[in-house]
């Protein structure tokens, strides 16, 4: 089977399994909503409009809620040895990584699509810059998040109390993305465009290349049985 067909098969399998239970969006979505509420309750009203607070709250919420969905990419498999089953199939290991990472990306895209407008509404913010720039930036951020998140999920799935360790392992690696997301979001909201912030965009692209490329190359080592 070609790599693309294998990937699509795995993505479709995960998709059908998830939609049957509906958990894929429900739990992380609820968590995201609750985190947003916590921020709204915890922040003094004046602070909500203060520079940088909106983007910090929004991205924190998305990154935390995202850990639940992305880590399930492998969490689901570990139960009755289905990870082993998946790997016994004659597929390129890298295809498995790509499939899981793309699934994670689809998941993040769905959560983000729902939560971002809600955040804008709840914080009373409007987008000054062009929408396409906001979408490109968001796309780069959640793609980067999905890549590194999937790799770390594959590692954590093989550890004792991996679900607990997952955020601890992931967040130091996320720092560049967090900084880039908040910085570019603020630029788009306050300055009306990302001109002059090309360095951050370049770094986001570089991060994506690195954290999709390296796992792609090394994945056969990650999931050795």
């Amino acid at each position: 089977m070609s790599m693309a067909r294998v990937m699509l098969a795995i993505i479709w399998k995960d998709f059908r399994l998830e939609w049957r239970t509906g958990e894929v969006l429900l739990t992380p979505g609820l968590l995201a909503l609750l985190l947003m509420l916590v921020f709204i309750f915890a922040l003094p009203p004046a602070a909500m409009k203060a520079e940088g607070v909106f983007t910090a709250s929004m991205w924190t919420t998305l990154f935390f809620a995202g850990t639940i969905g992305v880590s399930r990419g492998f969490g689901r498999e570990r139960g009755d040895g289905r990870l082993a089953g998946l790997l016994l199939a004659p597929v390129d290991r890298s295809a498995v990584f790509l499939a899981k990472a793309v699934s994670a990306l689809l998941f993040m895209a769905m959560v983000t699509a729902v939560m971002m407008p809600l955040f804008f509404g709840a914080f009373g913010q409007t987008l000054a810059g062009p929408l396409w720039q906001w979408l490109v930036m968001t796309g780069l951020v959640i793609t980067a998040y999905s890549g590194v998140g999937t790799l770390v999920a594959a590692v954590a799935a093989q550890l004792r109390s991996g679900e607990v360790l997952y955020p601890v392992l992931l967040f130091p690696l996320l720092v560049p993305i967090v900084l880039a997301a908040v910085h570019l979001s603020d630029a788009l909201l306050l300055e009306g465009g990302w001109a002059g912030h090309g360095g951050w965009l370049q770094m986001l692209v570089l991060y994506n290349v690195l954290f999709w490329g390296v796992p792609y190359l090394l994945f056969e080592y990650v999931v050795e049985v």
């Binding site: 590194v148 790799l151 590692v155 093989q158 550890l159 004792r160 109390s161 991996g162 360790l165 601890v168 392992l169 967040f171 130091p172 690696l173 720092v175 560049p176 900084l179 880039a180 910085h183 360095g199 951050w200 770094m203 570089l206 991060y207 690195l210 954290f211 390296v214 796992p215 090394l218 080592y221 990650v222 050795e224």
Partner: protein, 246 residues
């Protein structure tokens, strides 16, 4: 020679022990010399005064931390390719020593911040990067603690050792641009260039760096010996288990 000792490990263990002792004899005078150079010989900095002297050990600490994590990176790759236990032992030893020197970098950096900017902490690019570095390599050790079986442990830790190091330049650049500094590829950041670096200060700094490198090598070899002993204990336990079954 005891019954349980495997002939092939004895000379290696003895060489390591000799290296350990040798480095110990070298480290002590090196540190004393470096202290003299930094605290007495180097000229006092005009504006900052005597507290600036912590700088002579700050650079050396940071250098050794990064060197250690580079070693983790290299030997993580080597382990994935060759699967020699020795490579994994080197990686974990380097990681632990690297964490110690990261803590030292943070400590000296904090006192440095107090000297230069009059605050105990600042989100200055290098301090920020060093904090993230600390968390990444603690994560490395957590993975090793939580993995079952030496194969899994070595493999997963190596994967993380590789991506953690790849993350370092990204964190460094992000932290540098974070607080509004102009993004350029080559960064002359921090207070060092702003000081008038008298050549005697540079000398004292290099001596401090060399001394700390000897110290880190000494700690590394000690830790490597411990790793060797741990693996020997595991091997002995395995043999004892087999004996019981027979």
């Amino acid at each position: 020679m005891t019954v349980a000792a495997r002939p092939s490990t004895q000379p290696a263990a003895e060489r390591l022990a000799a290296l350990h002792r040798g480095l110990g004899w070298l480290a002590l005078p090196a540190v004393i010399f470096a202290l003299y150079m930094g605290l007495v010989w180097a000229p006092e900095e005009r504006t900052l005064g005597v507290v600036q002297r912590i700088f002579y050990f700050h650079v050396g600490s940071a250098w050794n931390a990064y060197l250690a994590f580079f070693i983790v990176f290299v030997f993580s790759i080597a382990y994935l390719v060759r699967r020699k236990d020795g490579f994994d032992a080197i990686a974990v030893s380097a990681a632990e020593v690297g964490i110690v020197f990261t803590v030292l970098t943070l400590l000296t950096g904090t006192f440095w911040a107090r000297a230069v900017w009059n605050v105990w902490w600042t989100w200055e690019p290098r301090l920020t990067t060093t904090v993230i570095l600390l968390f990444m390599y603690i994560a490395y050790l957590l993975i090793r603690a939580a993995a079952e079986g030496s194969d899994r442990r070595g493999r997963l830790a190596s994967i993380f050792g590789i991506i953690a190091f790849a993350n370092v330049p990204l964190v460094h650049f992000s932290a540098t641009w974070w607080r509004g500094m102009h993004p350029t590829v080559i960064q002359l950041d921090g207070p060092a260039p702003r000081l008038e670096m008298d050549p005697r200060m540079i000398t004292a700094m290099m001596v401090g760096l060399a001394a700390l490198t000897v110290v880190s090598a000494y700690l590394f070899v000690h830790r490597l010996r411990l790793e060797q002993m741990t693996r020997r204990v595991d091997a002995l336990k395995e043999r004892a288990r087999l004996e019981v079954e027979n």
